[in-house]
């Protein structure tokens, strides 16, 4: 019950972080928060309806950025399904290796957005496309460490070790 609440709350928070006003210099380095949150839930809580959430959050992103409907939705759904397909692989890696191994997926996400933007004739500077990939990769270990730390604190009482 409370997990479902945290799930919904984290999705809303990711959208909020995505539209929060930042100085121009930082704004291009903003990691893709919805992507991080969806990836986290897909990897660590596979029972959550992550694919549905990915699609809905994607449509919300499209509305917020006024891009073609389905653009962010498609990219998020693709990444989420690849992660859930390769979940057994990613959970075997230690955190920092998983962070590196996930980087191609962030790049895939950026590429799909780039591609659809190209089809709908929305060109932008290339560095603006790749900087979020970099920052998402760098922030992933921090992000997971934070959320898993919260959970570890809770489950330590039960004297259990979690995988991963």
């Amino acid at each position: 019950m409370s997990k479902a609440l945290i799930f919904l709350f984290s999705l809303a928070l990711s959208l909020l972080l995505q539209i929060l006003q930042l100085p121009d210099a930082l704004s291009s380095l903003r990691p893709s928060w919805p992507l991080l949150v969806i990836a986290y839930w897909t990897l660590y809580e596979p029972k959550m309806p992550s694919l549905l959430a990915a699609w809905i959050v994607g449509v919300c992103c499209d509305t917020l950025f006024n891009s073609v409907l389905g653009e962010n939705a498609l990219a998020l759904v693709l990444v989420a399904s690849i992660i859930s397909r390769l979940r057994s692989l990613y959970t075997l890696f230690p955190l920092w290796q998983a962070a590196l191994a996930l980087a191609p997926l962030w790049a895939l996400h950026a590429f799909i957005i780039f591609w659809i933007d190209g089809i709908t004739r929305h060109s932008a500077d290339l560095s603006l496309r790749w900087l979020p990939v970099l920052s998402t990769t760098l922030i992933w270990p921090l992000f997971v460490g934070l959320l898993e730390g919260r959970r570890a604190a809770r489950t330590d009482n039960l004297n259990r070790m979690r995988l991963p």
């Binding site: 809303a12 939705a73 397909r85």
Partner: protein
Amino acid sequence: MNTTLTDTSRKPLFPSGPALGLRFLFFTLLSITLLVVDGRSDRFKPLRDWTSWALTPLIWVGNLPRAVSGGLEHFRSREALLAENRALRANQLEQAARLLQLSSLEAENQRIRELLASSTGLKDRVLIAEIFAASQDPYRHQIVLNKGARDGVYRGQAVLDAAGVMGQVVQVNPTTSVVLLITDPNHGIPVEINRTGLQTIALGRGDGQGLSLPYLPGNSDVKVGDVLVSSGLGGRFPAGYPVGEIYELHHTGGENFMEAAAYPRAKLHQGRQALLVWSEHATAADATDAPQVPIDLPANSPAKPKAKP
């Protein structure tokens, strides 16, 4: 090490077979359908309206930091306020003097226009709107205003600020509207160079701070510092408002066209208010989508390419 799986991670360590594939296929097809249909028509506008309505609280919260920092300005020092007051008084005096001059110029302009039997008025109907949010997507230069269809805002409406043209409305929601700024790479605005009257098109460069004028004839009379004003061709923007100022000229030898770069006059990322303008030709231009404004182009200007919508 004592390793036990919790119930959440015990079962689906391996993907759950066809169910995942099916779900993936379903959502992918759904997204592609949305993409194709939304790219070509307005059929999903209700979905967009509904989502944007549902996300309004989120946008409001996202805008809170700015609102709070704005609120802190209440506690400014008395000296600062006095200084500002003095500066504003001086400014107001100066402007009043210029306004006196303007009214006589306006009267003169009116007389001359009557002589020319032209009915273009200088006065446009305007509405002040608050800038609600700036798009945080670095690929799109957009802002959201707090006026929408209920206030009579329409698609394609011109948006100005105190210093010049900001952009045009691209999407109207019931209570908000989205404005595409003139620096967006998808935006083009017909302009004329104030000094010579040369007509051309200013496109957004997409780096957030510049305009580019790629269609200048190689022999045209353009200088750094020239002011661009909206020409009113195409009927979407009212004529005569400042758009930008040229700061750089490129002319590659052998090329037919010379390219100029300009800074926009409007303070696109600074103000909190914007003016929505009802220009007289706009409704007609929107209805036919083929601007029919009979204006003689100067002899040395190229055939004017159609402005992007």
